[in-house]
Symmetry: C2
Subunit: 163 residues, 2 copies
DNA sequence: GTTAGTGCAAACCTTTTGCAGCTCT
DNA sequence: AGAGCTGCAAAAGGTTTGCACTAAC
């Protein structure tokens, strides 16, 4: 969903396109996924120092209610704030590395199957769905193993390095 | 994961089994899933009026870190607090009705497939995973349709009931 | 006897609200 | 003109922290 689509959607719902919203929409549009309110606020403040944090929250809330952005928790990787991304057509899971914080997106058929099964199994009408997976990316798995090894050696000082 | 299993796990990790923890574990064990800290606190206070809210938070945090309970958001159905459930062997999704708040659990093979695919696709080591689906249960779908109809008639007063 | 755990008060972080004034349309 | 939006200040909601005291091991 592009900035233009979002603007059009606001127009149709009789929302005003203020200077502040222009700034926020542009930032959301180009700065990629997964920002939280404070990040967005800091970035917006550079373009308009008077823009208030509250406006960021109000704008995000409005976009969320309009179905234009999705709200994520990302396994509370870094505190309890929420993260936002412009809504994509295709459902996807978020895979978060608990060590480095990197977020991968996974698009795969199990997600569609899951959705269909829940709908038919419970007669449920799905409005929004979210899958978040936390763990360690391949890079950090190696680093963690190394860290463990180092910690082990520190706990057993004077031991010979090799048996 | 039963209360006894949890106690054993604490013992092994050198955690103390205090009077307060006994109370909280028992409540978590028997009062079913999906409570949040405040609910747990209110229940615990009835058994020990001196037990502090902070102890509830600290206990939940410890159990979470020990992998004994899982933390959920339930699509922030009712505010931004977290919900807790004792960890089950089998992965499942939570299906939350946004109107009545009912939570269903869905166990199905797409979840296992998803997990496997993410592991192999990214070489990712999964620690915890969470799928939350928000929408309307079959019961509330009917009620919502009725509510819409009533609202429509109020907005068009004196209109004939049937065309 | 140690050390982990508790209660209390106070702080913290994120988000929301009330209201007067401003600005899109 | 007028509804909708903004900024400011203040509050709310949920959770964490520092510290002196207590209790489990």
């Amino acid at each position: 969903m592009s900035q233009l689509d979002i603007k059009e959607s606001l127009r149709q719902r009789g929302k005003r396109l203020t200077r502040q919203r222009e700034i926020l929409l542009e930032l959301i549009d180009r700065s990629g996924d997964h920002l939280h309110a404070e990040q967005l606020y800091q970035m917006a403040k550079e373009r308009d120092p008077k823009l208030n944090r509250v406006t960021v929250y109000r704008t995000l809330k409005m976009l969320k209610q309009g179905g234009l952005v999705d709200e994520l928790d990302l396994m509370h990787y870094d505190g309890d704030q929420h993260y936002y991304e412009t809504r994509l057509k295709q459902e996807h899971a978020h895979v978060i590395c608990l060590r480095c914080g990197k977020v991968e997106e996974f698009f795969g058929e199990p997600l569609q199957r899951l959705r269909k099964q829940v709908e038919s199994h419970f007669g449920f009408q799905i409005v929004l769905a979210r899958t978040e997976i936390g763990g360690y990316c391949s890079h950090c798995q190696v680093l963690r193993a190394r860290e463990f090894e180092e910690a082990r050696q520190e706990n057993a000082p004077r031991a010979k390095k090799r048996a």
